[in-house]
Amino acid sequence: MNSAVVVFPGINRERDMARTLKLVSGSEPAMVWHAETALPSGTDLVVIPGGFSYGDYLRCGAIAARSPIMDAVRAFAGQGGLVLGVCNGFQILCESGLLPGVLMRNQALKFICRDVYLRVERSDTPFTRGYNAGQVVRVPVAHGEGNYIADGETIARLEGEGRVLFRYAAPDGMIDPNWNHNGAINAIAGILNDRGNVLGMMPHPENHVEPSMGPTDGRGLFAGLVDHLARAA
């Protein structure tokens, strides 16, 4: 798997992401600075990691979405290339028009870092083939602005087309406002674009991959991608 991790000034989970990609796929990702205008040739997967691009001093992700490299990312996605945005990466994908909707401040108006439970809604996508539909996975979140919202029509389309891949849930998989820490509409934690090749999600699967460190539920996402790309090749 040839992955590329895009690094904007202020991104800070690029090392976590690179380590996980290496661990699961066996190959080092290319680190691509935001000022570049092209992705390395042969890239299979573009990852936009978490952090605070440009300090998030403007709307989260708004400045990064206008960086030179994003034209290349848009073109890559337009050709069906796989793009994963996590946390700030999700915000950047929304701001760049690759995904609909927006991430508002958490309902409680505070940054929250904790393990949450996600219900995997589908397993027939490149991003979730490592899981079973309905499976509950435990992964951490760490964000102040993860409260997903879009207009009613967009939400209806996302739901109707099965593009919500992850929802915040109770450990038993029930959707429950007490287990939706940021107040996202329909407990949405991660969504796909209409073509099914771009995923944005708030939680950090890359932080739960090593057995010696604790839970490993995040691994399935990356293992599934490796598997998908191996079969496609």
Binding site: P9, G10, N12, D16, G55, F111, N207
Partner: protein, 737 residues
Amino acid sequence: MTSNEPKITPELVAEHGLRPEEYQRILDLIGREPSFTELGIFSAMWNEHCSYKSSKIHLRGLPTKAPWVIQGPGENAGVIDIGDGLAVVFKMESHNHPSYIEPYQGAATGVGGILRDVFTMGARPIACLNALSFGDPNHPKTRHLVSGVVAGVGGYGNSFGVPTVGGQVRFHTRYDGNNLVNAMAVGLAETDKIFYAAASGVGMPIVYLGSKTGRDGIHGASMASAEFGEGAEEKRPTVQVGDPFSEKLLLEACLEIMAKDCVIAIQDMGAAGLTCSAVEMGAKGDLGVELELDKVPCRETGMSAYEMMLSESQERMLMVLKPEKEAEAEAIFRKWGLDFAIVGYTTPSKRFVVKHGGVVMVDLPIKELGDEAPVYNRPFSDPPKRPVLKAESVRPPMALADALERLIGSPDLCSKRWVWEQYDHVILGNTVQRPGGDSAVVRVNDGPKALALTVDVTPRYCEADPFEGGKQAVAEAWRNLTAVGAKPLAITDNLNFGNPEKPEIMGQFVGCIRGIAAACKALDFPVVSGNVSLYNETQGRGILPTPSIGGVGVLDDFTGSASLAFKAEGEAILLVGETVGWLGQSMYLREICKREDGAPPPVDLTEERENGDFVRALIAGKTATAVHDLSDGGLLVALAEMAMASGIGAKLDAGPVDTPAHAFWFGEDQARYLLTVKASDAEKVMAQGRAAGLQVHQIGMTGGQALALPGERAILIKALAERFEQWLPMYMAAGAA
């Protein structure tokens, strides 16, 4: 010198916090009247915060050496060797006064400042901790301060990208006008790539790096060197504004130029900004420094030399560059979008010369600026010894079960989840043990080596007996590290006290330092960095003496670290250490009996060491399945914490007949640990303890869903956990209503 600077008058001198005799010292030193800018520089260099003039002679008594110490106090941070060519760089520093005036920015820049201290030395920060002390929860400002400080600590660390893995939060009315924010940063470097502040070589370029200079923070260090009176809030303009985004860029750029071997010396601009950093680099290298202020990147126009020299704008560094590397270093800084300007050169003159607009504004002897700062041996008086409180004299006002429920839901003992969930504690993917345990455990690179990190102090003990309290703070930090299985290596101390000009406050300070020194020596646990914060007084009332101790230990294999949660039902619970039932200064006495008196528990350092070594060996041998050190609240509170962390209860045996039950279960005798072992191992472990001359006794078995004490109602773990988690969120929510 220019004529448009204000004339020096006694009033102006006093406004700069300099006493008449200190001003006379300046006149004697330079043989003329200083310019206005020079006066500002003296005031910045000679205030308490920068000069340690009241504390210096006492700090010399602290043990600072061990075979694993690479750098002790005196640099930006301490450095210790953890083997494999790796070094840990760490320090703790206070940002108390700014955090009271402007809680969010005060706390944020406290975190920013300590991170800079660590990466200035070439280390990548891998963890932060903090110790926060707030006033009485019922004080009208407390909620606002908690909310702002916690958001500020998180706001900076989360954005910078370092996990905040541990800390302390306490409340006491004595912090009403003076909350404490002590921030600790820990970084990792290679032992042969540590960078220092001392300049070398004449004619070397001095480079200004990072953010631009503004008018913020002028006189911040002087503010930190005076008591608060009424109207402290009016000092808000002296608080700096933090920019974690710039700091993250500065980190990456600094580590990159260091890796490219461009740097001779480097120093962050912290307190007293450009002044302190330039003087320190020159003085430590036996060189002069000449600065050209017209080259300094400024955020606003028309800044005077005085303002530029005293600005405490954040996220700035000063560096002595290898001249042949200039282009390479500049390209790296430009890539990260940061300012890079050559603002001066090292000179052979040993003078500190500052030019602005072609005029010499400052011309001072550089070494004397630091070395000749006044040093005071202030009078101090030992506080009267408090009588030892006999356990029999304390009548228990309620049943043990009720007292436990009340204690576990009290402000100091309740869960601090509301706080640490606002800190990203998992970023970098190396957090093995998250907040809430005895120590955080953070993996080093890809392991198996790991660091154990903790912050601790018990201010009420320090108040009652500074010497024992100082000992206890170090012993407890050592115990916290031991309880996860780490070998304790070194500490950083952050000494927060009141006005040193009062003999009784100075007595607290001197007593605590002596206690710290005694414990460091007995436990081979040297001080490698630290910070002193005095004048923590408002309207004449000082804080509780609070010498926060940040401890660092090492584990050879993080997968073998111990945690406090019970692991299984049917395991034996062992108590290591002697329990006499010491209630003086205990949480039980304060929260249940509403008394704060008596002598604090004494610390037997030999026992401390023997018990700790015994427990550490049981962890290393994988015999101990869960471990928790005993501290605030004593035995029953510790048991409750182990039970709540696991959801597994315990059936407990009756305490000894000759000790009152409430003293046995809630006394705060020191040097104690609780651990669980397989039932079949219990006899063997107790025999080992006896053979070593230690007190190791079984006090019960794990199991069930309650803590079951003989003759008491069962205490359900679930109900206890609800109380534990409830207080802080409810308290904070009440303010929002």
